[in-house]
Structure formats: structure tokens, C-alpha cells
């Protein structure tokens, strides 16, 4: 356990920050640019992973387990969210024969 923490701390905190920011921004760009509902959900997953990375890094640097516990919860919740999300996407596909979100604009105004 101590060993892993030391290994994590071997990389400067800034690097984790930059990496996670990059991941997050890539996720946001994916959500903004892509029109495929599944890809959008994947991009959201990417954003969540950026969060996980950041939490784990902070947790290791601070020597406080709370952050890592948070990561487990995020993983569990994300799985649930994706399960529901994919089910909805299946329904959308049945309705419109497409998973392009921009075909969905019956409701507007």
C-alpha cells in the first residue's frame, strides 16, 4: 500500500492535473462535437475518468483515503447511469432507426 502511494507520488502532481484537465477537455469537446448518442455517453465517461484520476492523485498526495473512496462511488454510479442511458438509446434507435441526437427535435419552441 505504502509502495503504491510512493509510486504515485513519484510523478509530480502537476502532471496529474494536466493529464486530467486534458482528458476532461477532450470529453467536453466530444460531447459538443459528436452527434452519435453513444459517443456522447463515452465522452461523458471520459470526463468522469478525468475526475477519478484527479481524485486518486489528490488522495495519494494528501494521504487521505476519502478521495479514493469517492472514486469507487463514481465508478458504481457511472455504471448505473450508463446502463440507463444505453437502454434509452436502444429505445431511440427503435423509434428513429438512428442514434444521431440531432434527429431528435420534435420537442422544441
Amino acid at each position: 500500500m505504502e509502495n503504491i502511494t510512493q509510486q504515485i507520488q513519484a510523478v509530480p502532481l502537476d502532471h496529474y492535473l494536466v493529464l486530467s484537465s486534458l482528458l476532461f477537455v477532450i470529453g467536453v469537446m466530444g460531447v459538443l462535437v459528436r452527434r452519435n448518442a453513444i459517443v456522447i455517453f463515452m465522452s461523458v465517461e471520459l470526463m468522469l475518468n478525468a475526475v477519478n484520476l484527479l481524485l486518486a492523485a489528490f488522495s495519494a498526495y494528501r494521504g487521505d483515503p476519502a478521495g479514493q473512496i469517492f472514486v469507487f462511488f463514481i465508478m458504481a454510479v457511472a455504471a448505473a447511469e450508463v446502463a440507463v442511458g444505453l437502454a434509452i438509446i436502444v429505445m431511440i434507435y427503435r423509434n428513429t432507426r438512428s442514434i444521431d441526437v440531432n434527429f431528435l427535435n420534435r420537442l422544441k419552441g
Binding site: V28, V31, L32, V101, N102, L104, N105, L107, K108, G109
Partner: protein, 635 residues
């Protein structure tokens, strides 16, 4: 007895509940009796309180019913203020209200919504009582909004006709614009004085210096509220349209009670208004402008109710003129006499319309004198009163306002007199067109002509008596009177009277002023007489151009022609201009334009909701960035 004042508004509320719940089951006789009885008992109670208050030493009672809101530093009790002013208003509301209820039993007899009508009418009276009894601005505001709501319900009472709905909507919207001012005014009062109750705000206000900016702002905002409710320039256009409602409603709401709420509110807050001379000037100018403006429009109206509607606007202008020049008692006095004679005029008009099977166009009337003797005589008396002929009630009240106006500025007096002349002219024009000459309606209508039933004529007679003698409660010193009303109301205007000196005119001047205005009134009655009775002129039908100068006998009608060229034509043109250009396209245009702008904005805003998920997310991200930027750069 005074402790039981809460019974007075409760009774109409009970009447409303009974009629509202049982409106499909109650027989008509019961509904009408319940509605009228509730008001009658309230009237009797108000009388008892009136006598008790006069006999007692203390002139102001605050009766707390329950604690309404209490949170943090804010305590607003639900309490009533019983003082000479509120009791006087109660008497007017219940007294005139009761007569109008009785009249309505006859007038609305064949209407299918009979019980619903009485339910609304009782609810209206309830809110009106809340308005005048409330011991703080919030209770007053509740009543203020409530009467607006009832007025909306009653204007649109015959909702099967589309234009009536529009009239109802317009009334409500115009009132809301005024309410906005009132509400902001109340907020500012709370902000300045830390309280909204009259008993705390007014003494504290008296400690301010004259011309204080905050007080000026407060009073101006309150005045905006008053212009909406009391139909003054520029928010008056709803009142003529509101004539779409049943005629007794026009008599009760749009002549005697609700529209005078603005005058009541300003009289109630007089302690603040006297400290804001700028506001007072604005009120006087708007008042006199409205008085003349509306009278000019009334000159050419052909719908009998429209004439009365514009006349009401004009008379309300007089009351505001009175307030603006500091004649608070005079304004309340005129409010009272106006309630008598204008209610009578409306009810009389209702009687005429009833006899004419719903016809409201005066061009189709004429010669009704014989068929409707009671209506004719009572309306004639009311017309004398509104024209300001002595010794009818209107003479005293109008004279008091004009005397104060003269002392304030002779120009205001002059304009006021012009308004009085116009009033006499259009009122007599209405009487002559309706009751004199030959009948111009259809044969069927002539056959159907009849005097109204007893329950309609008796209220007319009672109101006629009041219109004749109502002025005697406040006979000025100059005529050897005791100014009883002035003494009665004095406790209410204690703070104000420090800034408003009493009349200092010498008696000769006062007599001259009276003489001038009376002479003018008589001349304009004479003009109306020659024009509409002797020459039997009838306003041209819509669409036809006014005929060119008549080749009438030069010698015989010299005066007429001179009058025609010098006064009538320019006046007609002016009246036409005001009605068509300013009233319809100007003020209406501005109000509608504002509405349109909001609607346009709304339509454009709607386009933001594109339905595209991608766009939503994009907008959200932009939103976050925008807030971020605002946080650092703008604030």
C-alpha cells in the same frame, strides 16, 4: 361596536359564498335578497359605527384581527383602521352599493347568470371594504388587487361576446401597470420607514423635510398606482371600454367606488404627499388635463354609456386636481357627491337602455321624457348636480375644489372652469338627445317603451334625493355654512393641514368665482338647448361627413353660427382628434406597442429552444464560461 367592524366585510363575503356555491340551485329571488341583505346589514353597521365615532372622543381605532405575517423583522398584522375617512368610504360603498344591488335585482332579472352576478358583486364589495379598512398598505394592496379582479370578472360578465373579453383584459392589464407603481411605492415605503402601517408611516413621514427626494419618489409611484385604478392620463383608456359590463356594474365599480380608490389612497397618505410639492403639482396638472381631455371626448360620443364613462374620467380628474392643490376634504367631498349623482346617471342610463331593449346609441333615442318620467326627472336632477348648479350637491363640492385651485394658481382655476362648461354642455346634450325631441328608434322599440319596475326606480329616487341634498354636509363659510364635513375629516388630515393653509380668499372673490363659473355653465346649457332642442340636431350617423355650414337664417341664429364657427367646429375637431388620434392610436398604441414588444421578444426567445441537444449543451457550456467571465471582469 367599533370592535365589531370585522363584521362589515365578512357579511358580503358570506353573501359571495352563498351565491357562489349555490349559483345553480338558488332561485333568483333568494340570490338577489341574500346579496342585497348582506350589503344592507353592512350599511346599518357602518351607520352605527359612524355615529359612535362622531360621539366619541377618540377618532381613530386600529383593530387587530390576527397576526397575518410575522417573519424576522417583518410584522404585518391583519388589522382594520376605523377613522372618519374610512367610515365615510364605508358609508358610500355600502349605501350606494345597496341601492345598486336592489336595482340589479330588476335589471338583471332575465339573465341566466343571476346568482353568479350577485356573487361577484358581493365579492367586489368585500374587497372594496378591505381596501378602505386596511390599516396598512399591504391590506390595502390586497383589496386593491381584489377589486381589480372582480372588475375583470364583471366587465367580462357577458363573456359570450369577444369584444367584451378584450375590454376585460384591457382593464386588467392597465390596472396592473398602475399596480406595479403602487407595489414599488409600498416597497419603498417599507425600505424608508421600516413599516407599512399607516399609524407608523405617516407620523414618521411628518418628520421629513418638505421636498425630500425619497418622499417624492414614493408619492410619484403611489400616484402611478392611482392613475391606473382611477383612470387618469395616460392609463385611463380602459374605463370607457369597461362599459361592456352590465350597467349597474358600471355604476358601482366604474363610477361610485373602485375608480375612487386612487383618491382614497392619496387622501389617506396625505401626510406624505404634502411633503412632496413636485408630486402635488404633477397630480394637479394631470388631474386638470384629464378633466378637460375626457370632457372634450365626451362632447361627440353617441353611446350613452360612453358619454358617462368619459364624464367619470373627467370628474375623477377634478378630484385629482383637488388633491393636487391640497383640497383633500374637497376631493373626498366631490368623491361622495360624485358617487351619488354618477351612480344615479348610470342607473338612469341603465333604465333607458332597459326600456330601449338594449339600445345604447343616443341617435336612436329621443323623446323618452313621456315614457320614462321617473328616469327622466331623476337623471335631470343628477345632471343639474354634475353641472354644478346650486343648490345641487355637485355645486358645493366642485366649488370647493375650484376655490382651492384658484388660490393655488388662477390658471388651474380657469382650466377647471372650462372643464365645468364642457361638462354642462355634454351632459345636457345627453339629456336633450335622449329625452327631448321625437323618437328616432324603430317602431318595435317604440312599442316596447316602458318605465322600469319599482325596484329599479326606487333606488333612482333615493339617489336623486341624495344628489340634491348631498352637498349640504359641507356648505362653505362664505354661504353661511358650517363646513361639517371639513370638521368631521379634520383628524385624518392633521399632518397635512400643517402644510396646507385654509382658504384665505376674501368673500367677494369667492362670490365672483362662483358667479363666473355658474354663468358659464348656464350659457353652455343654453347652447346645448338651442342646438339639440330648438334645432333638434342629431349627431351625424357614423361614416357620413358633418354637413357644411348650414344656410340658416342669419338673424335668428346669429349666436348659433358664431358659436358654430368659433367654438363648435374647432371643439368638434379637437374632440374628434383626441378620440381618434390620441386615444385610439396614441395611448392605446403605446400600450399595445409595449405588449407587442414583449410578445416579439417572447417569440424570439422561443427560437432559442431549438430542440437540438447539441445546441443545448453548447449553450450551457457558453453559459458557464459567461458566468466565469462575469465573476472576474464585470462585477
Amino acid at each position: 361596536m367599533i370592535q365589531l367592524v370585522w363584521l362589515i366585510p365578512i357579511l358580503p363575503l358570506i353573501g359571495f359564498l352563498i351565491n357562489g356555491i349555490g349559483r345553480n340551485r338558488l332561485p333568483k329571488s333568494v340570490a338577489g335578497v341574500v346579496g342585497s341583505a348582506a350589503i344592507l346589514v353592512s350599511f346599518i353597521l357602518s351607520l352605527c359605527i359612524f355615529f359612535e365615532l362622531r360621539a366619541g372622543e377618540t377618532k381613530s381605532f386600529t383593530i387587530e384581527l390576527f397576526s397575518w405575517i410575522s417573519a424576522g423583522n417583518l410584522h404585518i398584522p391583519f388589522s382594520f383602521l376605523v377613522d372618519p375617512l374610512s367610515v365615510l368610504m364605508l358609508l358610500i360603498i355600502t349605501g350606494v352599493g345597496f341601492l345598486i344591488h336592489v336595482y340589479s335585482i330588476g335589471y338583471m332579472h332575465d339573465d341566466e347568470g343571476f346568482a353568479r352576478y350577485f356573487a361577484y358583486l358581493n365579492l367586489f364589495v368585500f374587497f372594496m371594504m378591505l381596501l378602505v379598512l386596511g390599516a396598512n398598505y399591504v391590506i390595502m394592496f390586497i383589496g386593491w388587487e381584489g377589486v381589480g379582479l372582480c372588475s375583470y370578472l364583471l366587465i367580462g360578465f357577458w363573456f359570450k361576446k369577444q369584444e367584451y373579453n378584450n375590454a376585460a383584459k384591457k382593464a386588467f392589464i392597465m390596472n396592473r401597470i398602475g399596480d406595479l407603481g403602487f407595489l414599488l411605492g409600498v416597497f419603498l415605503i417599507f425600505n424608508t420607514f421600516g413599516s407599512v402601517s399607516f399609524a407608523e408611516v405617516l407620523p414618521r413621514a411628518a418628520g421629513f423635510v418638505q421636498g425630500d427626494t425619497v418622499l417624492t419618489a414614493i408619492t410619484l409611484l403611489l400616484f402611478i398606482g392611482a392613475t391606473g385604478k382611477s383612470a387618469q392620463l395616460p392609463l385611463y383608456t380602459w374605463l370607457p371600454d369597461a362599459m361592456a359590463g352590465p350597467t349597474p356594474v358600471s355604476a358601482l365599480i366604474h363610477a361610485a367606488t373602485m375608480v375612487t380608490a386612487g383618491i382614497y389612497m392619496i387622501a389617506r397618505s396625505s401626510a406624505m404627499f404634502v411633503l412632496a410639492p413636485f408630486t402635488m403639482d404633477v397630480i394637479a396638472v394631470i388631474g386638470v388635463a384629464t378633466a378637460i381631455f375626457a370632457a372634450l371626448i365626451a362632447l361627440t360620443q353617441t353611446d350613452i354609456k360612453k358619454v358617462l364613462a368619459y364624464s367619470t374620467v373627467s370628474q375623477l380628474g377634478y378630484m385629482f386636481l383637488g388633491l393636487g392643490v391640497g383640497a383633500f376634504t374637497g376631493s373626498v367631498f366631490h368623491l361622495m357627491t360624485h358617487a351619488f349623482f354618477k351612480a344615479l346617471l348610470f342607473l338612469g342610463a341603465g333604465s333607458v337602455i332597459h326600456a330601449m331593449s338594449g339600445e345604447q346609441d343616443m341617435r336612436k333615442m329621443g323623446g323618452l321624457k313621456k315614457a320614462l318620467p321617473v328616469t327622466f326627472i331623476t337623471m335631470l336632477l343628477a345632471t343639474f348636480a354634475i353641472s354644478g348648479l346650486p343648490p345641487f350637491s355637485g355645486f358645493f363640492s366642485k366649488d370647493e375644489i375650484l376655490a382651492h385651485a384658484y388660490e393655488h394658481s388662477p390658471v388651474l382655476w380657469g382650466l377647471g372652469v372650462v372643464g365645468a362648461l364642457l361638462t354642462a354642455f355634454y351632459m345636457f346634450r345627453m339629456i336633450f338627445l335622449t329625452f327631448y325631441g321625437g323618437f328616432r328608434g324603430t317602431h318595435e322599440q317604440q312599442h316596447h317603451l316602458h318605465e322600469s319596475p319599482k325596484n329599479m326606480t326606487i333606488p333612482l329616487i333615493v339617489l336623486a334625493v341624495l344628489s340634491v341634498i348631498g352637498g349640504f354636509v359641507n356648505i362653505p363659510h362664505v354661504l353661511g355654512g358650517g363646513e361639517s364635513l371639513h370638521h368631521y375629516l379634520a383628524p385624518v388630515f392633521t399632518y397635512a393641514s400643517a402644510y396646507i393653509p385654509g382658504l384665505t380668499l376674501d368673500h367677494t372673490t369667492e362670490f365672483v368665482l362662483m358667479g363666473v363659473s355658474m354663468l358659464g355653465v348656464l350659457i353652455s346649457i343654453f347652447f346645448a338647448y338651442t342646438k339639440y332642442v330648438k334645432k333638434s340636431e342629431v349627431p351625424a350617423a357614423e361614416g357620413t361627413r358633418l354637413p357644411a355650414l348650414q344656410a340658416a337664417s342669419y338673424n335668428k341664429f346669429y349666436v348659433d353660427e358664431l358659436y358654430d364657427n368659433l367654438f363648435r367646429k374647432p371643439l368638434d375637431a379637437l374632440s374628434d382628434f383626441f378620440y381618434k388620434v390620441i386615444d385610439k392610436s396614441g395611448i392605446d398604441g403605446v400600450v399595445n406597442g409595449f405588449g407587442k414588444a414583449v410578445m416579439e421578444g417572447s417569440k424570439n426567445l422561443r427560437l432559442l429552444q431549438t430542440g437540438y441537444t447539441g445546441f443545448y449543451i453548447f449553450a450551457m457550456v457558453i453559459g458557464i464560461i459567461l458566468i466565469m467571465v462575469l465573476n472576474f471582469f464585470l462585477m
